[in-house]
Structures are given as C-alpha cells and as structure tokens.
Symmetry: C2
Amino acid sequence: MKIRAMVASLLSIGALVTSINVSANEPIQPIKAAKVANADVVELGKMLFFDPRLSKSGFISCNSCHNLSMGGTDNIPTSIGHKWQQGPINAPTVLNASMNLAQFWDGRAKDLKEQAGGPIANPGEMASTHKVAVEVLQSIPQYRAHFAKAFGSDQVDIDRVTTAIAAFEETLVTPGSRFDKWLEGDKKALNAQEVEGYELFKSSGCAGCHNGPAVGGALYQKFGVHHPYKTASKAEGRKGVTGKDTDLNVFKVPTLRNIELTYPYFHDGAAATLEDAVKTMGKIQLDRDFNKKEIDSIVAFLKTLTGDQPDIKLPVLPPSNNNTPRPVPF
Amino acid sequence: MKIRAMVASLLSIGALVTSINVSANEPIQPIKAAKVANADVVELGKMLFFDPRLSKSGFISCNSCHNLSMGGTDNIPTSIGHKWQQGPINAPTVLNASMNLAQFWDGRAKDLKEQAGGPIANPGEMASTHKVAVEVLQSIPQYRAHFAKAFGSDQVDIDRVTTAIAAFEETLVTPGSRFDKWLEGDKKALNAQEVEGYELFKSSGCAGCHNGPAVGGALYQKFGVHHPYKTASKAEGRKGVTGKDTDLNVFKVPTLRNIELTYPYFHDGAAATLEDAVKTMGKIQLDRDFNKKEIDSIVAFLKTLTGDQPDIKLPVLPPSNNNTPRPVPF
C-alpha cells in the first residue's frame, strides 16, 4: 500500500512537471476556473447583468449585447442601443474579460467595475442614469435584501451595483477548450491541421500580441502596423483616451478565446468570417499574404480555443412595485 | 406492518378527497406541473426561444418580449419591435399560456404552435421571414443535429420550428403558488386579508371570467361591459378576427397567474399598478366602485397567485458559420 501511494504520488508530480513544462514553453497558457470569493455578490451581479431595468427603456440589459448564449457578444457588427441607435464599435466579449489589462477597445476603463457603469449611463446604449438605476433597485425590497446579503447593509449605490456586476463577470471564464487540453498534455486533443495552424500562429508573429491565458487582452497595438486598415469607423482607439497622435488606431488586442463564437471581427465588426480576419491581420499587421492552406490551418487552430461556456441559471428578477420608477421605452 | 400500511393508505385517500373537495368547490383550480412528452423537442424549443437569429436584426428573440426573468413579459406597456417600432398591444405572458383557449389578445392563433410563427415574420416585431429563419437554422450543423434528435431527421422547416417552440412553452407553467397551497388544504398559506380578497373576488363577479387553473384564459369577454374603456389603442379585439361588430373590444380574458410580475396591465398596458387595474375592472366590468379596503384585499389575494417560476438553464447557442445568412440590424 505504501509503495502504491508513493508511485501514485510520483506519477502525479510527473504529470504536474509535464504540465508546467508544456505551458512554460508556450506563449499561451490554459485558462483556470474562476474562484468565487463571495457567492452572494456574484448572484446579485448576475441578476443585475440580466436586468433590463438598468436601461431607460426597460428593454436592454448587459446581456442584450454581451449575450451569454452567444459567446458573450451580440454577433452583429456594432451594437444596438436605446431607440435602436447604431453603436460606434463592435461589442467585445464579456467572456474572460477579467484578464484584459483594461476594458473597452480603447482601454478607457481600468477594470470591469469601471466598465460596468459606462453603458448604463451612455445615451447611445442603455441611456439611463446612475441615479435612476439606483432608484429603481432601491425601490425593490427583494433587491435591497440581496444587497444586504452581499454587502452587509441594504444600501444601494452605483459603486455596489458595478462591484456586483464585475464580480459576476469575473466568473465568466471558459476553461476546458481543446487547445487547453492539448497544452496540458493531451496530444490527441488537436489534429495535425490544428497543430500546424498553431505553429504558424507562433512562427508568423500572431502570438506576439495574442498571447497569455486569454490569447490577447494583455497589451495595446496599432491596428495597421504595415498597411493602413480601411474602415468607415470613426473610432480613434487609444488616441481618444490619451489625446496623443501616436495613439491613433491603437487598440487593445482582443482575446481570441471563443473566437468562433464572437463573430463578426475587428473593432468595426467588418470581418464577417475568421478567414477574412486572418487574411487581413496577416496583411496589415505582419505584411504577409497567407495562402488558403495557411489561413485554413490558422482558422482550424483558432476554433480549438472555444472553452466550456459558463453554466448560467437564468435569474428570476424581483418585480417592480408601485414605488419603482417606470421605464420610458418610447 | 399491514395495519400501518392500511392506515397510511387510508390517510392518503383522505388527503386526496380533501384536496378534491377543496378544488371542486372553488372556481379556481391548482396548476399542475408540466408533463414533458419529448425532452429533446423541448430542449430544441428552448434554444429557439432564446435565439435572436430568428429576427432580422439578430437582436430580438422570443425571450426579449416574453422574458422568463420577468414573468414571461417585457413589463412595458407595449412591446419594442424591429428598429424600435412601438407595438400595438401589451405582450401577454408566456407563463401558463398553454392553458389559454387561443393565443394573442384577440385569439387569432388557435394554439402556441400557430402563435410562435407570428412574431418571427411580423414586420413590426422580429421582422424576419419563415424562409430566412429556416435558412439560418438549416445552415448550422449543430442545430440540424438537434432537429434530428428531436424529430428523427435533420430537416428544418417552420412547422418543426414552431412545434419545438410550443413544446418548450408548454413547460412554462407555474405551480406552487401560495394560493394553490391554500386550495390544496394548507389554510395557513393565506392570511386573513388575502382570503377576504379572494371571497370578494368571487362574490363581486371577478371569478365569472377569471376562473379555471389559469384564473383566466378560458373565454372571450367584452372589455367595457357596463362602461366603455377609454384608450388610445386601436386594437379591436375579436372583431379583427371575426369581422363582426359585436366583437368590437371583445378580448381574451387574460390569466391572472403571476399577475404581480406581469405589469403593466390591460391590452394597452395603461394600468401601471394592480390597484389601478382592479379599480377600473370593478367599474367598467362590474359597475362597482371598490373602496380602498376592497381594492387592497383583492390586490393582496392577486399577489398570492405568483407560482414557482420555471427553472431555466440558459442555452448555449451553436454559432453561425460562413454559410449562415447574416442578420441585418440597421
């Protein structure tokens, strides 16, 4: 028995070492399951994420544009906002967003908490105000009870609202992709074309920006390093935040995790397919004309980055009552 | 042992008789849990119910206006359709809708299956066509696999689409309300005011139309029996279906199950609160001016009709691919 235990112990150390080695040699690391620090805050955050009463119309929730049935995005080039306004930019996925160095394409919010307050009060998105959103929640005793459970008192304020939404969003990670299994030593998890695609992804320079556990999200980069990107979009990227001309068209490198689910691509949503996106990226960022075989293998690799999607039980939201400010949809 | 078993058996017969007696003497019967005939059809129907690709924009799903987080409604007076068009009528709840004698306020669809096809192709709602909706689903192998599992072959057509959506909707029943517990013999489930409200609901005539397991949904009735209902709504009710002048302003009596969750009220959504709704109904339907105490007790009773909300795991939708027709949001 003792010998068997020792062997088992040695084997598991062996597996660990292999796993560490594999990851250490690769620019991409596996995604780890989310740790939940406070389940009550997360549960409250989930309710808020799904509650359209945070919008002026009562129709748009966080989940409208970061739809957890669809890779945490809306799968349209640019989002639909209050009164069907056309948004200026493609909605980034909320999945694994906690790993980004900052939020929004231009990084103007330092973290998920700061981000969460943005769309609620953006006249082109949810078009409410923090004041009204808080009044709505404050008027509902069942919500106040959730705030009390989560934060120790039933006070509702925008800081707590965005803290809770961010805490929920931090749980939206997607471990378990075939690529992660391969990274962790299961060499049968990828086929030859997918491995070839990954090798090309590294050797041609894609992994220079798209790296780390999120395969992106860790740095800013000019979009159009070798050739300018042609777009009708007016988004200026980091320049809009820093004011510097050198930051024109510099965007946060997006995560490639779950990229098969988060079409269309680029900040303007102009690339409808992964093939289009890879071709354009090769040309403008790497000055390289990938041929069809190369594109297909990189796309095959990219499709291995789809992880286990978050397991979400739809929240049942407490009803408004006679004291709750009503939405203004029209 | 034998005697104990006989006693147990007699006791359970006793409980059954009590339960039957209670229900038999009342105009309202408890809601029974849904029976699922084919879990694969229901699961497919759930995916379709949550899939905004059934709309032209890719933004509106069945769940947008029949939100299962919010009592199966959108909680706004009239719904928001494609390009933010203002709908002509208040979205009826999908909860317990299988118990309605027909669907829509004017009963123009004979059942849930017929109803489900309506909004998809209605230019003011989801604004797609059955042809495009089917093409979208047909293009996605994972969807075809679900159709094969549900129906025995991977053919996608609108008949199967609406069959599946209806099968899912048939599971959306809400047993377990406090009122049902009371009906079933738990006399502590309601307080004195709630019982008083129920007695008044019966004695004043409300239960003449709002009866059966769904507390409504079983017949058509003129809205404005004693006094005309004043509204800006152009909805004609049954007249729009039958063409008969006598059917002007005749609507399906809505279910009162979960009524606390399905505000605002009436076909035009003009009653913001239950108190408003009860007052108006008393006046125009019963020629009765309920006083505040009476209104409060009826409202207290109505709030006991909220049942267990369906336990929904958010579906993960299979992604579109290069062959999938793209949404046209703008």
